[in-house]
Symmetry: C2
Subunit: 342 residues, 2 copies
Amino acid sequence: MAQVRNKQVVLRKYVDGFPKESDMNIVESTTTLKLPEGSSDVLLKNLYLSCDPYMRILMTNDNITGFGAYTLGSPLIGNGVAQVLESGDQDYKKGDLVWGTTKWEEYSLVPSSQIRSKIEHADIPLSYYTGILGMPGMTAYVGFFELGSPKKGENVFVSAASGAVGQLVGQFAKLTGCYVVGSAGSKEKVDLLKNKLGFDEAFNYKEEPDLNATLKRCFPEGIDIYFENVGGKTLDAVLLNMRVHGRIPVCGMVSQYNLTQPEGVTNLANLIFKRVRMEGFIVGDFYHLYPKYLEFVLPHITEGKVVYVEDIAEGLENGPAAMVGLFSGRNVGKQVLLVAHE
Amino acid sequence: MAQVRNKQVVLRKYVDGFPKESDMNIVESTTTLKLPEGSSDVLLKNLYLSCDPYMRILMTNDNITGFGAYTLGSPLIGNGVAQVLESGDQDYKKGDLVWGTTKWEEYSLVPSSQIRSKIEHADIPLSYYTGILGMPGMTAYVGFFELGSPKKGENVFVSAASGAVGQLVGQFAKLTGCYVVGSAGSKEKVDLLKNKLGFDEAFNYKEEPDLNATLKRCFPEGIDIYFENVGGKTLDAVLLNMRVHGRIPVCGMVSQYNLTQPEGVTNLANLIFKRVRMEGFIVGDFYHLYPKYLEFVLPHITEGKVVYVEDIAEGLENGPAAMVGLFSGRNVGKQVLLVAHE
C-alpha cells in the first residue's frame, strides 16, 4: 500500500515558562491513507488547525488542571477543519467537511466521536470553523450569554478583545445594546476594535500605567460584565470597578499560563462588596447549544453584522511560531494554521 | 423632662490595620426617653448588640466598598436586639421586643424601617436574634442553600467555622447529608467543631504549615462547596482542591480586612479548570427569605438538632474589646455584647 508523507508538529519537551518554537519539532513521518480493517474511526485530511491558548496548559506535565498533557514526541492535539478521506462510521462519508478535535499533522486517524460537526455551509470560509463557527465562537456565545446574562444598556469590558473569542464577545455585546470597551496589546489591535469591530472604546493596556484609573475613565458607572480572558493585574483592576451584581465569566487567564508563580489578585473582597458572580467555564460543557448558536450567528455573518478577523499562517512548518506567537500577542485576530487546501 | 444617662461606644478615629480598643471611646451622653413630637421613629432600649466582622469595613473612611463609613464621634451602628420604649409607628408598641439595625448605646432613636422583625418567640434566648435567628443565621442560610446549592453527599469546607456564621453552615451541611470539614484558629475551637457542632473533621489552620496538603488529606476527592469567610491563603489553597462544578459562596474575607495590602490569590485559574462558581453576597439582598428561614430553623432549635455557641461580653464598656477580639479570634462562637437585661 502506498505510503504518503505525513508532516507533524510534535511536542519535543514539556514547556516551562513561555513556550518557545524549539519546544516543538517538525517531523516527517509516513502513513498509509487507508482505514485499518474493521475500524470505526475516520481518516482525515487536515485543512485548518486552530491555535488556542488553552493548548499551552497541555504542554505542561503537572496535570494540576485535570486536563492531562500532550505526549512527548506525538503531534499536538487541537481543533481543526478537515476533509474525510475514509470513514468507518456511517455518519460520515468520503468528501465530507468536518470540524472537531484532530492532530497537528497532514493526515489523522481519529475516533468519529472527536468530530464535533459536519460543515454544511460551504459558502462561508472553511477556516471560520476554527473560530467564529467553532470552539471560540461557542466560547464567546456561552460565556457572554449563558454566564454573563447581559441586559441592554449594561457596561461590558473585554480583555484580549481582538482575540479569537474577545472580538466576538464585543460584537455580541453591541448586538445586545451594551456599551463595550476592549483592551488589547497594540495600537493596531486597538484601531481594529474601534474601527472594524464596533467597540465603543478600546485601549492598549501596555500603555496604561494605572489600569484602575483607565477603567474608571472608561466606566464611570462601573462594569456590569467583565469577560475575563487574561487574569492577573487586569482582573485586579477590574475588581475595583465592578458594579453591584456584576458578572465575571472566566474564559481564560492567558497572562498567567506561562508564569511559574502567577500574579496575586488582591481585590477579591470586592466580590462581596459588589455581590459579584465570577464563574469559570469550559465550552465543552455547552456543545448541546451549538445548533442554537448557529441559528443565532449565521444570519449575522451573512448579513455582515458580525465580522471575524483571522490571522492565517500557512504550512505546518509555521505551526510552532504561530503557537508561540499567541503568548507574545503577535497574532491580530484569530490565529489559524492553514495545512492544506481542500 | 427627665434626662437619663446614655452610655455610647463611639468611633474615635478611623482605623488603619488591625482595630485597637483605643480606636473607640466610651462616652456618657444624656438623652430624654421621649419621642420627639410627631416623630414616626421608634425609641429603643438596647439589650444585645452584635459584634460582626463587616463592622471593621465601616471603620475605614475610603468607601471603596460603597458601604460608607461610621461617623467619628458617633456611636457604632450594627445589629441588635432591643425593647420598644415608645413608638411613632403603629406597627410597634411599647414593650415589643425587636431586632434590627441599632446603635452602640443604651437608648437609640431609630427609623422604624431599621427594625428587621418583631421577636415572637420569647422562649428562645433573646441574644439568638443577634446570631442564629438574626443576620448571621440568615447569612449562613442564604450563602449555603441559595448560593451553595448543596446536594446530599457533597463535600463542604467552612473557614472561620466556629464563628457566628460558620458554625451554622456546618450544621446545615450535616442536616443536608454533606461531609463537612471546618477550620478554626485554636484547639478549643477545633474541639468545639468536632464534639459539639457535629463537623466530620476540623483543623487548626495555625498549626498546618501546608494548607494545600491539609485539604488534600481532608478531601481526597475535592471540595464541592467552600463557604468562604476568610480569603487570602486559605482561599488560595482551596482553589487547588475544588471539584468540577464546585461553588464558593463568598460571605467574608476577614483575614484581609486589616491588611493594607491584601494577600495575593494566585490560583484563580482553577475557576476555569474546575468550572467553579464564586459568588459574593450580602444578606441584605435576601431578607425576603427570613420567614422561610425561621420556618426551617426554629424546629431544629427547639428539637436540639441545631445548637448555637455564643460568647457574651457584658456591658457597653466592654464593647471595644469585644469588637477588637473578633480579629484576633479571641471569641469562641458568636460574639454578643449584653447591654441591659429586659
